[in-house]
Symmetry: D2
Subunit: 351 residues, 4 copies
Amino acid sequence: MASAANYVYDTCQPGPAAELRIGVIGYGYWGPNVVRNLQGLENCQLVAICDSNPANLQGARQARPDVELTRDCSELLTSTQIDAIAVVTPVWTHFDLAKSALQNGKHVFVEKPFTSTTQQAEELIELATRNRLKIMVDHTFLFTGAVRKIRQLVDNGTLGKLYYYDSTRVNLGLFQHDINVVWDLAPHDLSIMDYIIPKKPEAIVATGERHLNGHVDVAFITIYFPGNVIAHINVNWLSPVKVCTTLIGGEKRMLVWNDLEADEKLKVYDKGVQMRTGHEIYELLVSYRSGDMWAPKVEPTEALKAELAYFIDCILNDRTPINDGPAGLRVVKMLEAADQSLKKRGTTIRL
Amino acid sequence: MASAANYVYDTCQPGPAAELRIGVIGYGYWGPNVVRNLQGLENCQLVAICDSNPANLQGARQARPDVELTRDCSELLTSTQIDAIAVVTPVWTHFDLAKSALQNGKHVFVEKPFTSTTQQAEELIELATRNRLKIMVDHTFLFTGAVRKIRQLVDNGTLGKLYYYDSTRVNLGLFQHDINVVWDLAPHDLSIMDYIIPKKPEAIVATGERHLNGHVDVAFITIYFPGNVIAHINVNWLSPVKVCTTLIGGEKRMLVWNDLEADEKLKVYDKGVQMRTGHEIYELLVSYRSGDMWAPKVEPTEALKAELAYFIDCILNDRTPINDGPAGLRVVKMLEAADQSLKKRGTTIRL
Amino acid sequence: MASAANYVYDTCQPGPAAELRIGVIGYGYWGPNVVRNLQGLENCQLVAICDSNPANLQGARQARPDVELTRDCSELLTSTQIDAIAVVTPVWTHFDLAKSALQNGKHVFVEKPFTSTTQQAEELIELATRNRLKIMVDHTFLFTGAVRKIRQLVDNGTLGKLYYYDSTRVNLGLFQHDINVVWDLAPHDLSIMDYIIPKKPEAIVATGERHLNGHVDVAFITIYFPGNVIAHINVNWLSPVKVCTTLIGGEKRMLVWNDLEADEKLKVYDKGVQMRTGHEIYELLVSYRSGDMWAPKVEPTEALKAELAYFIDCILNDRTPINDGPAGLRVVKMLEAADQSLKKRGTTIRL
Amino acid sequence: MASAANYVYDTCQPGPAAELRIGVIGYGYWGPNVVRNLQGLENCQLVAICDSNPANLQGARQARPDVELTRDCSELLTSTQIDAIAVVTPVWTHFDLAKSALQNGKHVFVEKPFTSTTQQAEELIELATRNRLKIMVDHTFLFTGAVRKIRQLVDNGTLGKLYYYDSTRVNLGLFQHDINVVWDLAPHDLSIMDYIIPKKPEAIVATGERHLNGHVDVAFITIYFPGNVIAHINVNWLSPVKVCTTLIGGEKRMLVWNDLEADEKLKVYDKGVQMRTGHEIYELLVSYRSGDMWAPKVEPTEALKAELAYFIDCILNDRTPINDGPAGLRVVKMLEAADQSLKKRGTTIRL
């Protein structure tokens, strides 16, 4: 994992001269970002864009007059001019599109969350393995400077033994039509946790509520890890203010990651607590340590561009991405478990 | 409840000339605040202070050289010169001290949380009723300008139908020796919820973890109310930063209460979401409304002083406090249920 | 002025069918924004872009492959296919380019500050008047929702009699090569003041210092208006943090405009001070009033797009823009006076 | 200077057994803080408090029932039981009270600003020198952890060559009756600058305005130092929000001191700008450096307590305080110059 993780900022090694020909399916909310970030990347060529909505296609035409456009995705899926498909469509369509792409010998880049069910994810992974194709799930946050830096601070022992990961990711809207707030917003934190916490989750508990006759729009998820590590995610489509803040507590240091800050996204606090029993059994001696705060410079790379470059590289050089199918599956497993727990108003689901 | 709630800011009606003679047991962390706020209150006289720790007593001597001091609480509990006892000691001592006070015909003001168990709370309530004495539980937040204003905004329909109450109350320390972080910090929000949400809680789910060989120091509590109202409390003794922020979402408006802000503690957002089904079954039409924000002036009263004045008034004029024994009991019930859920890593406990 | 001010948000009246053909000179820092915002505007056609730098032209080609490109500005200035020229080049080139455009019968849109000297501005205004052409100076901030709202709050008496305008506009860089920090950053506030303060400035005092062997990089400007209104502008290219905050004090209310806030740019405080002399001569009675704070919703229009639409409309419908040549001249006059004062380390310059 | 500066946090050296007997004149706004902070200090005894206002004396009685109280300050000034007088009264009374104290052989601690005129300050200094008595001016900020740390960062070269000091110190009220906003708020920054900038100011320019028929309530002061160092102070009694923020720019690093922050008062930015001329004369090459931010822990000492302990020590051990009479005089000189400049709407006053 470490070598893959480091890849992004490594100096580029001389790769093969090959070029990856890419087709993008879906030009709604996120698709335009994928298309824009593909522009200027080395060793790749955007060949075609597909969207069933004519208005979206019209937008694609303005942005990329040089690229083939179609409303029929089978054209892309079966094209012999395309090596890889980016699936940037609603979740419930991921499985069919990715499956078809893989069956037609194409690598796939799939929007998060990977699939609607664990079973679908497993089937796609199996298919890709069999056909020697790559799957990459769009866990964009793994490619931000902030998450890269947090991973570094965990790996090099700056934080010490991990205590907790506590994330709040709330705003007003955008309500999704086909998934609840957990499937919409929690994949960000679940994939980040998967990347920075070097342990496998043990159990999950989710609570939440729906208020607008649709999907659950407010939810709270706890994930138990071995060794008393605990994670918590607060997601909400009905918040009057936007908040994207994560607290990470460690034995030696603690950090606050405020993703909405322009300049000081990460703050590392030299704070800690130590506890020991005193002379008398009942006596508990607590000592607090409070030192400097430090905001390491976070690289302002555009994460999606870095991720797409990594996707191309993984395929051309046959590397396994950190955000491969199994990584996507691990997130879907937790989402499924969260849904199960939600339905029972918070029962513990073992993973 | 409403009349009691309004009491604090009502014009004072002419009351009896009587004076309440008060004894304070406990002069550690919170006791000095009680003593300081009793000073200058009408119709009351601080008669004696008790603390078993000589260093604390020394502090009391400096603050109130005119008041009797003792290390033996039975002196206060049995004194004929004392009408009411303020119990400002660790939770595990509340029951015995309050019981003895009530048995000796004294009204009691008890630090939060009221007692260690539901059963203790019920016994004290029964004893007080039998002896026609008052119990007031120190739910100080109910007497802040912010909570008063929130209650008003709920009562007068400004927020509309309630959706959720989501509170984060974290800081570094102070670790308590006899209780976990839930019993230490959650009573604040549980008593506020009890005051502003006009519904009885149905179920509770709590998750959390301990990291320092002591009590649970990080915890997350969900409370389900009828009508899709949900509450969530995030408490943490291991946070590098202090946060005391509550989001309250309603159908018509939403608010953010940041208790650490000096001047604009409450912000009311004229924001909302409406949803209806479109022509086709699958189509979901969401419309967002986003208007002005408004920070109503919050009275900067010292809450504890207002609460103590109210305590004196309730006794002298035989009124039932909003934060009476049953209110304290309701909070202890939720704490007990949270502990039960915590032990099972998050199972649902019906209330 | 009021009718022009209101124009932008008024419903569009049916205008003439004519179309304005525009050429843009300068595709460096700000030019691409002008070009991007022209896209999609009604009644206009971008005909050509000129930049002497081939790299910039290359960028223009990618953005607008359909538009004619050239390194020779005389092609645009003399073209019969162009009705209006946008001059988006360094300040020292404004005069020659605008003059040539006007002489060739073209309307001009000139980047701020209008010209390098008062004399140049006067000459251009005179030329435009003689040739019945329009000049618009790019005082973009006048077209933001925030400044529009402030003007409204002043006009409708919400703030009451104005006391002061105090702006801080600092960041790290971007150092300009041909002008100092006053000419770079102060035009924003000078044009805003010109728009919202209904009085003519009387005198100006400027202090400042240079630190990098170049131009003054830190400066402080005071402008005196009649009736005890005072304005102050703090501009700095050497600040470690970016700040764009303006305080405006009035007799009845005061406001803070933080342009870096995403959502609550304007906060209006219902605060005030009243003073009267008491019974004894020496006695001064001050009373403070402190009420609610209110953050009016500010329209998130893209200011430059609104301004360019207004430019086109003013030409096609022969209206006088609020940011016409004389408005540009008033700002240049203050900049010249500030430079004079700066050179003498802060002497008062009457206007 | 350095040794005195370090004194406060040094380990205490064994001093003489003597005790300083102190009388406090003035128990209005600041006097109670002086009295409270004298409590618990070693080697001193508070003997008497004087205030001409009976209500203030009543407050003093409650706070210190053990101390002699009087309305007649001559009792303190001539008492043989008093070694030092703290003058905590309005500015216009400082000279007479301090003079009388010095004439009666008493050391003086004088509230800031030292005196109403330069001449008064000089007379008091001369008198103290002649009588071998100490004067200390209450420049409290010099004893805060933040200012101590800033001085350290300047002294040890962390910031590099100083560029500017830019302070904003605004709030609503408290209007002073006998002085304008410059004399009220600017002494803080003038004394801090005097302490941290190792150069003598050359010239001062002040602008401002009055709005309530009283004193100037909004003012802007620029101070020129040798070597292109410039300082600026923005003071305002009519601001809707409280701001106490200082930016200090240096060649190597820059800092922001926000005194209203509870925990991270100081932020040091590893940012800078370098400039050199390119190949062609006109070409200016600017390079920006932007690294980590760092918030050094600032000691949360109560500044006034540290200052009073230092006052006692300076007298008992015959040390010259950093905030001695000449330091007070330097501040008064700048205030006088600022007033002169203000009257002429901003002319330069050489110092």
